[in-house]
Symmetry: D2
Subunit: 108 residues, 4 copies
């Protein structure tokens, strides 16, 4: 699995290069990117809109649907990483801090 | 920046441990997680709802707002990583494949 | 049921008066209102985030939850009506046209 | 403008007839409809994703774009009305109550 090896910073850089090669930094501002994350999140939901929770699990065992959904999930994360680039937010730090805080809110 | 060092797999594992320590795998199914990603995406948008693009950029220069927004961004990404865990999607691979495909769709 | 008697135009006017009494027309522009509709839609979803379809139906039989959800639904529709006011879209016409078109797409 | 004459109840009935003629009541349950409202809200946002507030206003002066956006707005409202049908929420009452409450929260 590439996730085992890949550093978050490498993904951020790949997104940054894509955006700056096209001079899209102006479009990739926080307000537009917040919309973009939500728009792509809705595209993931479309796959699960009319089916039950169990059917949703079964759907993800089908290769074709899983590839399509992986593609939508990538879109959400690309915009999240572009948002992080535009705002210089450290997502690994933010995620680990949030999980630590949630440990307190939801004790095992 | 922690993103320089942190591997995506480490973040996935941190999320997985949080979820399984609480026996939440049943709740963290694809349909529910798709909703959760969209719900948290909306919480990022709330910060930019009534302001212009320029005001949105300026807001992200304010430390307090930036920390709050980083927290919402972390929520979106935590649910994305939980979705990846639940469906065994390799997000690094999906992101890099999507960027490569977009290279073709949007030539420099 | 007030819906039996109330004309869409009356609701539009009530929203318009609320907005213009506060000089909020500048904020209630199409881009901001599109975000606002999505933000309030997410607040409806929060009530159904971790429950099954059947539990969702059961929840709507509980008076307290139903009132809360009605309140979120009202927010979505208020922003839809404000969007219609800002853009002079006739929603009754748009809805009936869309249903007629869908008759063709999804024959009984 | 049809909104001047059309009662909310007439629109609800048109949606109800469409849904029941296709035996879709099972699909049109609160959890699925909450997702559907959010999905269609995102489709409105797509039209405003990469443009400024002023460009968004200008876009709504173009007939073709306005018709497309009216169509997406209709989709959001159709699902809102179907949600109201499925849960027996009186939307006119909910909207007017919410505006009255907001009068108190945001005095002129």
């Amino acid at each position: 699995m590439a996730d085992k090896e890949t550093r978050v910073g490498e993904l951020r850089e790949a997104v940054q290069e894509f955006v700056s090669a096209r001079n899209w930094e102006g479009y990739h501002n926080p307000k537009n990117l917040a919309m973009s994350i939500a728009i792509e999140a809705a595209e993931i939901m479309e796959h699960f809109q009319w089916i039950t929770i169990d059917e949703g699990r079964a759907l993800m065992a089908e290769e074709e649907a899983r590839v399509e959904v992986a593609d939508e999930l990538a879109d959400v994360m690309i915009y999240c990483l572009s948002f992080a680039n535009a705002t210089e937010i450290d997502v690994s730090e933010a995620i680990l801090k949030k999980l630590a805080r949630n440990e307190g809110r939801f004790p095992v």
